[in-house]
Every structure is written in structure tokens, then in C-alpha cells.
Amino acid sequence: MSELLRRYGPTLTGAFVLLTAFWLLMLVILPNVTLFEASFRPYLPVTEVGGPKDFYSFGNYMKFFANSTDTDIFGFNLPVPIHVKIFFGTIYFSTLVTFITFVIAYPLAFYLAKVVTPKSLPTLFLLLFVPMWVSEVLRSFAWWLILAYKGPLNAVLQGVGILDAPVRWISGYRAIIIGLVYTYVLFMVFPIYNAIQSLDTNQIEAAQDLGSPWWRTHWRVILPHAKPGIASGSVIVFMLAAGSLLVPALLGSPTSLWFTQTIQQWMLEAQDWNTGAAYAFLFLILCTCFVSLVMWLFKVQLTDIAK
């Protein structure tokens, strides 16, 4: 701090501090405190705010456990509240999406880092970056077109003879998973690429010279080295997938709600901002827990992920 003052003087240092304070206080900390506080208050007409009905309670959170439906869990028919079901569905399918993107991305990252000739790398990166810069809404729209009942995918599969009758792709969670994997797979490729790239190629060659088959080289040498990259890729993809609203809204069906959609319903359709706040807060907690768990499991720091 004194170092800053000495170099840039009081005016500039003051400006740095003010700008940072505006960001962290007005845009990050206070809005989240407000969210937390509002989530415990009932939703009331403007005239009754601050009146006798306006007290703190867990009422908004209890709505989470309302409206049970019978659900089949490992063969048992149990009543599960509809929002709890959506909540865990979102976690489950986001984890699945994260796993699929990892399976697709790992060989690709390895290829980019160690196999391909460095000369063609810039062109490849350019080709990979273009879809990433195309808006998410358009990428989901593209799959909405492809997966349509009378769309090109069914036509091609029927033409080749794989399918006898067209498949209704956009039903259940199927199309959401396809859309999410497509939209976020590159966020898995680049962190793993960065991690593998820093591995000394001599180590791979040493393993091969000592007679290690290719799968053991990957398992014992390359995968352990890529762990920070895998962790940050997983965290990013999971957060983006769980937090996505576009893809589930475009590629979902009435039977496949995403948790962000329930938040949206409270906020924009029911106009009940307080319950919306409670749901948003629950969601934030879930995400924080998941990220902490992954970071703890893989022993990585927030600093590594932000790279």
C-alpha cells in the first residue's frame, strides 16, 4: 500500500482503491448480502413491506419441500418434492455432462499439446475458437434445428439405415445433455491442454523406453500431471452447465426442468423475488460446495482455476 502511494501518489492510489471498492462492495458483496437477507423475508405488496407481516422466517425455503410427487428411486416409490427432484436432477445431469466433456476433451488436449506439429497449432486453435465466440444462444439454436423431429439428424440416420423411424430427440433430458456438451466442451479442452503442455515430453518418452504401454503412460504419467487442468476444466464446465438457462429452456421438454428454470419462474413469472432469492441462494451454496469439494479432492487452489 505505501509502495503504491510512493509510486503513484495519493490521487491515483485513491482512484485505484475507489474503483476496486466500488466493484467489490457495490457489485459483488452488498448485492449478495441483500440476496441473503431478502431470501428470509416474505413476498408482500409494497404497502405492507416493513409492516407486521414482514418478519424473517424460513418460509421461502420451505417452498422448496412443497408439492411431493412419487418418484422411483432404486426401485422404491418415494414421495419427493418436485423442486428437490429438479435440484438433484440438475446436479446429476451437470456431473454427467462434465464427465462426457472430459472423455471427449482429454484425447484432444493431449493431441494439441504433444502430438500435433507446432506449426499447425495456430490454425487449429483458430478453428476451435470460432465456435466458442459464437453466442451460446445460437449454438443451442443450431442443435434445436438439428434435433428437430423432421430435422437433418433423423433424415440422415434414416437415410443411412440406422433408424427405422424418426426419434423424438427433444424429450426428457437427452437434448439438454447434447446441447450442454456441445456448448461447453471447449472449456474442458483448454485447461487440460495447458496442463499437459507443461509436461516435459522426455518423461513420456522415458516411460515408453522403459516398456510402458500407451495406456499406462497416460494413467501413471500424463493424467497425474494434467490433474490441475482437469480439475479447473471440470469446475468450469459443471458451473456453466448447472447455471445454464438457455440450453435447458431451448432444448428441454416439459418433463425436464433445470433448477435455473425454477428460479426464473419465481422471479419473472410469479414475480416473487423473495422466494427467487431463496432459491438462488440455495443454488449458490450448492455450487460453492461442489467447487470446494472438487478442489479439495484434486488438491488445487482457486488461483489455479482462475488461470
Partner: protein, 279 residues
């Protein structure tokens, strides 16, 4: 499996992945030319330009477009100074305070957009600020500033602070040190940060959806179109946006290659000069 075969397999895999990435975009763009009420390339009903004309005459699209650009410019104008200032600040402190501050700065990047949007409207609603695009700007800045911060912070690692020391010793004012020494070193990072901020803002959907009030931006417009009566004019818009992205990427790549060539030539020159000196 020998080395050559494995390499071939990898090449095929890479090729398939590129097909997987690019074909959906191509199909979407291609449908813009299909003379069919429903946006699709199949069945093909003949070439037409009417979807582009419909798009051109769509006044909602133009307002959304203008809004998107305005919001993006406002986000750049806020996120760049905030990100730069906080990077300089974080860089000057160390220890526990630094990691806490850093954590708070980076956390919004991982926070779901819906949560950012809701907390933004709740907070500003308390200060009697109504919803609208101005809140979209503030909500977006809350996480986009972190991208700028990270880029400037990375650039600061290669900064030689002795230069500032020398300037101060030679009697430069604080403003001059900032303007003439620190900022010129940071310009590449600031420029890249501004570009990232601009694109992130254009792409944003989640934060905007909750904060926008009744205004539209392009992403929200496309979204509502797809959900309620889509026509291939959306494909026309998509194609134009993809072409714009592609041109920007190509321009960047050409510039990068030229700079690299200049750099290589300069290095070769230096090596030759050195060799001549040795002889």
C-alpha cells in the same frame, strides 16, 4: 499399435471433432437461404434471400442490436478501468489480505449468471433504482471486470518496477510514471481485456434476462424468437454474426502472423549482426 497408426488415429479424431464443432453452425447458416417457412436445411425448397430482407425490416432486431452494442460499450468503459485498478492494487499487496481480496474478485466468474442477475436487481431495487439495461451493465461488470483483472495481473508479472524507480529519481511526477511507464507496458493486456469484455457482454444472456426490465438485447431477442414463432430470419442473423466473428478472428490471426514474421526477421537480423561482430 505403432506410432504412425496412432498419429493417424489422432488426426482422424481431431478432424471428426472439428466437423462436430463446425457442421451445426454451417447447417444453421445454410438454413438462412432455404425458401421454407420453418428454419431447416432439410427438405431443401430452393434458394432465397427473403429471410435477409425480413431481418433487415425487423425493427425489434435493430433496437436489440443497438442495445447490445450500447451495453457492451458501457461494460468495457467500466470493466477496463476497474479491472486495471484492482490488478495494480492486488499486485502491490501480499499475504493473507491479498488472497482474500483475490478470492472475492475471482468468485463472480464462477457464480451462476442467474444469481448475479437476481442479487443485482434486489440490491439496486433497495436503492430505488428500477430494472433496465443499466442494471444489466452493472451485473455484467461484476464478473467481467475479473477477466480484465486477471489479464492485467498476468502482464504486471513481467513489469520491471525499476523503470518506475528510475523515472521517479529523475523527477517524473506520479501521473507521468503512470502514463508513460506503467500504462504503455499494460496496453496489450488492457486491449485484450477490452476485447474480451466486449464479446462477453454481447454473449451474455443469464444476467441480462433478469436485469433487463422490458428492454431487449440480441441474445434475449433470439431466445424469445426461437421460443415463439421462429422464422429463418433468425438463421440469417446467425449467419451474419458467425461471419462477423470469423472475420474478426481471421483479422486477428493475420495480424498475429505478421507480427511474428517481423519478430522473426528482427531476431535473424540480430543474430547476423552478432555473428558479424564475433568475426
Amino acid at each position: 499399435m505403432d506410432d504412425k497408426m496412432r498419429r493417424t488415429l489422432y488426426n482422424i479424431y481431431m478432424g471428426l471433432f472439428l466437423v462436430y464443432l463446425l457442421v451445426p453452425l454451417g447447417l444453421m447458416g445454410g438454413a438462412a437461404f432455404n425458401d421454407s417457412r420453418l428454419p431447416s436445411v432439410y427438405p431443401w425448397k430452393g434458394l432465397t434471400d427473403r429471410w435477409f430482407i425480413e431481418l433487415w425490416n425487423d425493427s425489434t432486431m435493430w433496437t436489440s442490436f443497438a442495445n447490445t452494442i450500447l451495453v457492451a460499450l458501457a461494460v468495457v468503459a467500466l470493466a477496463v478501468p476497474i479491472g486495471t485498478a484492482s490488478a495494480i492494487l492486488v499486485n502491490s499487496i501480499s499475504g493473507r489480505v491479498r488472497s482474500v481480496l483475490y478470492g472475492i474478485m475471482v468468485a463472480p466468474v464462477l457464480a451462476p449468471g442467474a444469481v448475479i442477475g437476481i442479487s443485482t436487481i434486489l440490491f439496486w431495487n433497495k436503492l430505488s433504482v428500477p430494472t433496465g439495461l443499466h442494471l444489466s451493465v452493472l451485473g455484467q461488470v461484476s464478473y467481467i471486470a475479473a477477466f480484465v483483472m486477471l489479464m492485467v495481473l498476468a502482464r504486471l508479472q513481467s513489469f520491471d518496477q525499476n523503470l518506475e524507480e528510475a523515472a521517479l529519481d529523475l523527477g517524473a511526477s506520479h501521473g507521468q510514471v503512470m502514463r508513460r511507464i506503467l500504462l504503455p507496458h499494460l496496453y496489450p493486456a488492457i486491449g485484450a481485456g477490452a476485447a474480451i469484455s466486449f464479446f462477453q457482454s454481447i454473449e451474455n444472456f443469464n444476467v441480462t434476462l433478469f436485469t433487463r426490465g422490458t428492454s431487449q438485447t440480441l441474445t434475449v431477442y433470439v431466445f424469445s424468437k426461437v421460443r415463439s414463432g421462429v422464422t429463418p430470419s433468425i438463421n440469417a442473423l446467425a449467419l451474419l454474426l458467425i461471419i462477423a466473428t470469423l472475420s474478426a478472428a481471421l483479422l486477428y490471426e493475420v495480424r498475429r502472423r505478421r507480427l511474428a514474421a517481423v519478430e522473426a526477421a528482427r531476431e535473424a537480423e540480430a543474430r547476423r549482426a552478432e555473428e558479424a561482430g564475433v568475426l
